[in-house]
């Protein structure tokens, strides 16, 4: 799952190394427009539909947060 997430992130912002940051928002690697793109790309990659109530910066802040969100939607099954 981790590699897939990193691939999705690299597809949105190829100039950054997402494995080296613990806070993509504070580090300026993802802005709110990128987060919406990320939600859409994660939906497609993992065949899920992340609800609007979960589209919060804290759920996309780093790899751990994204993994936890995806587990909630059963993406690790």
């Amino acid at each position: 799952m981790t590699n897939k997430i990193l691939d999705v992130l690299a597809g949105i912002r190829p100039e950054f190394d997402f494995s080296a940051s613990s806070d993509y928002i504070a580090d300026g690697m993802l802005d709110s427009i990128d987060v919406i793109t990320l939600v859409s790309d994660l939906d497609k990659e993992f065949s899920i539909c992340i609800e609007g109530v979960d589209i919060l910066p804290e759920n996309f802040r780093n790899l751990d947060a994204i993994r936890e969100l995806l587990r909630k939607y059963g993406a690790d099954k």
Binding site: G28, V39, E51
Partner: protein, 276 residues
């Protein structure tokens, strides 16, 4: 029913109520929490909630800016119909932000309710090379002080389109000055040029870069942007938005190493006079 927004939780709950449906989910409510908190404190926000869409109105100078969160384009269109029926005399301005190829359905929903295209902005970016900008100080370029705020805003008001370029208010400019994010060049008592920037982590954004007509072709703009590049030495990329048809500006940005991003911002206006 259109309700005033009185606190951030009310807005968050309203956004969370909008269910997503596959890939149709659409939003342009991208403002950071600090910005929405400022708007709420100024009592500038109101909202219209429907089952599958939320519209947020922000009062601006003589018009409302419109933001949406919608399950899909039909839900957005239905909500726009309700809004236009409730506020037939309101002048509405909206920014539709996304990849070029993904905006069609959202633009169509607005066209259906008499919104007309006003301008398109495109995003450009520049990767920062560690050794490219040496950070030399140009004595002609200084950080603006509190006393510059009014003349900076006056220059922006003379040169910018209020619908597509969101002129900062005095409080926003005071905050930017306090953060050291406003560079100016003066010629005698006159403000010759201004550059406003912003940095979050590794990303810097060039917000405004303007030279007074009387001082163009004198190197003022070049001095401002080279100083700005020097300040961005610790960033990894620089972003900006430019009007898509402004070939001179785009050529200038390309000259400084900026390239096209995939994102565009279609600005659409609904003017009651034209609707009638």
């Amino acid at each position: 029913m259109i309700l005033p927004v009185t606190d951030a939780d009310q807005l968050a709950v309203a956004v969370g109520r909008v269910a997503r449906s596959g890939t149709g989910y659409a939003t342009n409510l991208f403002a950071p929490p600090t910005e929405t908190a400022r708007w709420i404190a100024a009592r500038a926000l109101s909202l219209l909630q429907e089952e599958r869409a939320l519209l947020v109105l922000r009062r601006d100078a003589g018009f409302h800016r419109l933001y949406h969160v919608a399950s899909d384009a039909p839900a957005l269109s239905a909500a726009l119909g309700s809004l236009c029926a409730a506020m037939p005399e309101a002048m509405l301005v909206t920014d539709l932000v996304g990849k070029r190829e993904s905006l069609g359905a959202v633009v169509d929903a607005h066209l259906l309710h008499a919104f007309l295209p006003h301008a398109r902005l495109q995003r450009m970016y520049r990767l920062v090379e560690p050794s490219a900008d040496d950070g030399r100080i140009d004595p002609d370029v200084v950080q603006a002080g509190p006393g510059d705020v009014h003349r900076v805003r006056a220059l922006m008001q003379r040169q910018l389109d209020p619908y597509s370029e969101q002129i900062p208010d005095l409080d926003q400019l005071r905050d930017a000055v306090a953060k050291g994010s406003v560079l100016v060049v003066s010629r005698g008592p006159e403000l010759a040029g201004v550059l406003v920037h912003d940095t979050v982590g590794f990303t810097s954004t060039l917000r405004y870069w303007h030279v007074d007509e009387r001082f163009r072709n004198q190197g003022v703009g070049a001095r401002l942007i080279k100083t700005f590049f020097g300040l961005c030495r610790d960033s990894k990329r620089i972003l900006l938005w430019v009007i898509a048809g402004n070939d001179d500006a785009i050529a200038r940005y390309r000259h400084y190493g900026f390239r096209d991003d995939a994102l565009v911002d279609d600005i659409m206006l609904r003017q009651p006079r034209l609707v009638q």
